[in-house]
Amino acid sequence: MSEQTRTTTRQDTTRQGRGVGDSPRRPDGRQKVTGEFAYSSDLWLDGMLCGSTLRSPHPSARIVSIDITEAVRLPGVFAVLTHEDVPGLKTYGLEHKDQPVLAIDRIRYQGEAVALVAADHPETARRAAARIKVEYEELPAVTIGRHALDPDAPKLHPNGNLVRHVPIRVGDPDATAEVVVTGEYQVGMQDQAFLGPESGLAVPAEDGGVDLFVATQWLHVDRDQVADCLGLPREKVRITLSGVGGAFGAREDLSTQVHACMLALHTGKPVKIVYGREESFFGHVHRHPASLRYEHGATRDGKLVYVKADIVLDGGAYASSSPAVAANAATLGIGPYEVPNVVVDCYAVYSNNPPCGAMRGFGAVQACFAYESQMDKLARTLGMDPVELRQNNALSEGSRVITGQVVDSAAPVAELLRLVKERPLPPARSPGPDHDLRSLPGGVSNTTHGEGVVRGIGYAVGIKNICFSEGFDDYSTARVRLELVGGEPVAQVHTAAAEVGQGMVTVLGQIVRTELGVQQVVILPADTSIGSAGSSSASRQTYMTGGAVRAACEAVRAQLGDAELKEPVEATVRWHHRPTCTLDPETGQGNAHVQFAFAAHRAIVDVDTELGLVKVVEIATAQDVGKAMNPQAVEGQIHGGIAQGLGLAVMEEIQVRDGMVKNPSFTDYLIPTILDMPPVKLDVLELADPHAPYGLRGIGEPPTISSTPAVVAAIRAATGMDLTRVPVRPEHITRTA
């Protein structure tokens, strides 16, 4: 463990164990450091073709005609396909099948896929795609989320532009209070920006089916959608997970999957599609931009009386997971606080902006920026310490959240805030000319030697639901086989859980070692020959597939009994978490969530108030993880999540103007570098959740949620400005925007 981490349970760091609670090395680590690990973009087969996708240059248009004649003529081209060539269902989607595999007659966002090419060289494929003549008639576009529900807004889909409205009603909707603060907040469109671009290799099979090797988060939901669109029975579409270069939500929706399979089945040859970085920005969903209007009422001594919130999430052209994102933003919409009277209305809408869906934090991020900004504003109005105000209203075990659900495991909200507040502060910036420029905003650009630089401190705390909610039948499937190999017991584990970098393969091995007492564990490749593991998202996969593997180990142990292991023993288990309910459509009441997770952050920033440049000096955080299954991996998740939250606070935004993406590259879409990330001081609490395997609590998302408002609060403290929009840009601080 690093020196900067404290835990509340005693860890024996000298023990080199490899079971639950230890930090064994990743089983794929050697392959990953030597370059041998096969990411989806590395796959290669003799005679394979390269696929390319033609995309719409317009955000809203009618397709008048498509002429592929010139593309087909180019030597080296094997296939040019349009919507007419989609063999099965022409549309797909996670919750509503509203997205065409290839545009049919209408374009709803810039970058929408129109046609496909397979050729013997990627450049030939790109050139052929450029020769496809598409005649468009541009149409009026809806490009501002708040305008999508206007009566005169152009309608994107037959039922209009509302994807979902989630209302929450608690107590008296007309409650009044002694102190009232209002605010309107904006969240820009963030990109997951995983480093490994979308890619897949489809191989036609002799049975008329297809084998697909792809980087994804959820093999079975891919399989079902691909089979439907290909018009094939599900067993003829076999998906194997290939190496995944990060995910963060962006691989929940389809990208190359159906396209590569269509080209492979059409040409009878293996076809690989790999997106470049620019295409990747158009090839996956993003985090919903949001417009959030809040009103908080409190007593003069700082007790919340009511919260009203009106949230609009711009889902872009297609639904993706917008309905679930809206439910999160609504049900988690006032934060980890007890409030007797609540009116929340959250709307996910269609627009002609890029489609938005899952990204780490999933609706909780947008709401947290707004409610935590409001808590700071309320504290200022009351003249109260912002941490004290939060602690006075904090949820705790036994509290009811605004859906009426009782929090029935640890909810140490006040304690997390105490821990970050009591962390010693980093040393003050040394005055004088001899300090290292690299520690200042602007760094070696030499924009300041300290003049105009002001330090600020900000706090935030957040709440996230873990696992899928609202009655979704969420389960994972695991097969564990124990046998003797060369006289030694060896356990094989087979699941369809997507290892996306988080360390699933490590933790499953730890669980098996702990449960079966074996040292040798083989994790088989994830594929669709076993039942679904559900998605590697919602911070759920260690909970769900970890739970399934543990249950399968228990079944193996039960089968074996007291007997000595001679013949192989095998068990397959489908494991569910406890059931959840849907939300009441009028009041938003219901036990919709499986588990809640909490984290708190303290950010310290130096701001060059003349140039608007921000240097985040340090982040302190505290998070309850229930059980640190792998302490090293827990720290890695928390550090990485904070980096993405910091990115949203001060730099990351897909800039969309009139439906057109202006910055689809890593030159113009900035993610934090190692210079931008400060040291992280981390407190890990392990307060077991009795309902969860090993007491664990999902860890991946909470770090991303409250880090953003903490950084912005610190910038506000340094500048005295309101700063109601993220990312905060230099021009906001210098008032030159």
Partner: protein, 158 residues
Amino acid sequence: MRVTLTVNAEPATADDVWEGESLLYVLRERLALPGSKNACEQGECGSCTVLLDDVPVCACLVAAGQAQGREIVTVEGLADTDGALHPVQQAFIDAGAVQCGFCTPGLIMQTHDFLRRTDGVPADADIRERLAGNLCRCTGYEKILDAVRLAAGRMANQ
């Protein structure tokens, strides 16, 4: 065109290279060395870092023809031929600096070049400055700093 070069101390030849191809494309698609990663295609992310005549470069920014007759070392060439990992590779595993691992080959090449020119364990500010051209989306960089310090410490004690 034909490009001949030395890769990981072995002579290599690529035929039918299109003039627009990058060194990265030739390594990955023609010489069966996919360890160097393609994540941005414009020199922003460092995932394709290789040594070109002993200098770290983004292979995506080097035209294939520019590599004619040059010496390249990729991540595949860093471990000993007997399979023993380079101390930087081992430190990345031990420190938990590898998550998805897509940035790892580039970071390892950059760190290797950094540490072989550095005595002892470098200061954090120096590590940060030197690795600022390598993006990582998973780790928040904390464990990467741990890995660099760990590797430097081990190499200093060798």
